[in-house]
């Protein structure tokens, strides 16, 4: 059983459009969407991600350049941000929470209940991210002010909720 990438793409586009028009007053230009197994290329900027857990498990992330993060945060908080600081990281975490949270709510209708983790936000240069495992992810692009925003959702069926890890025979180690 695998995820329906067309449904996921549609859900991500609708959720993102709603969050941007409601909270930022911005109509985004939609870009391409594709299925990928490869990790993201090394890049610079802000990456915010949230874990999803339930019968389906995975992550949802939003990545933008530092300049676009500042622009979005300025609209969100009606202040002027010219460099990435705590406020910008917090705003990007909350925007990601809203986008992925609404994707989750829509997907729950077909995939069953899922929980959300607290957002984590990273800002840096020349970093790479990847979700462990071999499953495919759906990447959806948006464009704004000549910059690009990437939303990546990677979900896989949680075949066994509790996976036992092989363990050492501690007793035998202690006897020698």
């Amino acid at each position: 059983m695998s995820i329906d990438h067309d449904l996921l793409t549609k859900t991500v586009r609708e959720s993102t459009a709603e969050v941007f028009s409601t909270m930022l007053g911005i109509e985004l230009e939609q870009g391409e969407a594709f299925v990928t197994k490869s990790p993201a290329a090394a890049g610079d900027g802000v990456l915010a991600f949230i874990g999803l857990a339930g019968r389906w498990v995975g992550t949802g992330s939003v990545s933008v350049s530092g300049a676009l993060a500042c622009h979005l945060s300025s609209r969100f908080l009606t202040s002027d941000y010219r460099s990435v600081d705590d406020d910008v990281l917090d705003a990007m975490g909350e925007l990601t929470n809203m986008i992925i949270g609404n994707v989750k709510t829509t997907l729950e209708e077909s995939l069953g209940p899922m929980g959300l983790t607290i957002p984590t936000v990273i800002y840096g240069r020349n970093f790479t991210s990847r979700t462990l495992g071999t499953q495919e992810g759906t990447k959806v692009l948006f464009h704004m002010n000549g910059e690009r925003m990437e939303i990546h959702v990677c979900l896989a069926l949680n075949r066994d909720n509790v996976r036992l890890r092989p363990s050492f025979n501690v007793q035998s180690l202690l006897m020698h």
């Binding site: 909270m23 969100f76 975490g93 909350e94 929470n97 949270g101 609404n102 709510t105």
Partner: protein, 121 residues
């Protein structure tokens, strides 16, 4: 009326504070907390007339916080508006059963918050 805003996002706390100041509700001091644990401690020192709370937070989430507040007789009737990305019908029902006075799904407009507040007072 003093207000407590409970959300792990400082950005949302700032936005809600601005919306409250624009609403047709007389607002006094606005206290902030980043999770349910901080919120309970703030409430003990500063009784308020309105609480706005997120659900998905570290340490103590909004539903646990709601349960604890409603268990204390003097806070039983304080209006609590849940403002959260948790939009599933199950979560809404759970919050209402635990004693939430209203529910707003993120993303929200200032008008939606103001309408809910007007309905509470």
């Amino acid at each position: 009326m003093d207000v407590l805003i409970v959300d792990d996002s400082a950005a949302i706390r700032k936005i809600l504070q601005r919306v409250l100041r624009q609403a047709d509700v007389p607002i006094g001091a606005v206290f902030e907390a980043a999770d349910g644990v901080e919120a309970l401690a703030t409430l003990k020192a500063n009784p308020v007339g309105l609480i706005l709370s997120d659900i998905n937070m570290p340490n103590m989430d909004g539903l646990q916080f709601l349960t604890k507040v409603r268990a204390i007789p003097e806070w039983k009737s304080v209006p609590i508006l849940m403002i959260t990305t948790e939009g599933s019908q199950d979560k809404v029902m759970e919050a209402v059963q635990l004693g939430a006075s209203g529910y707003v799904r993120k993303p929200f407009t200032a008008e939606q918050i103001k309408e809910k507040l007007a309905g509470l007072f």
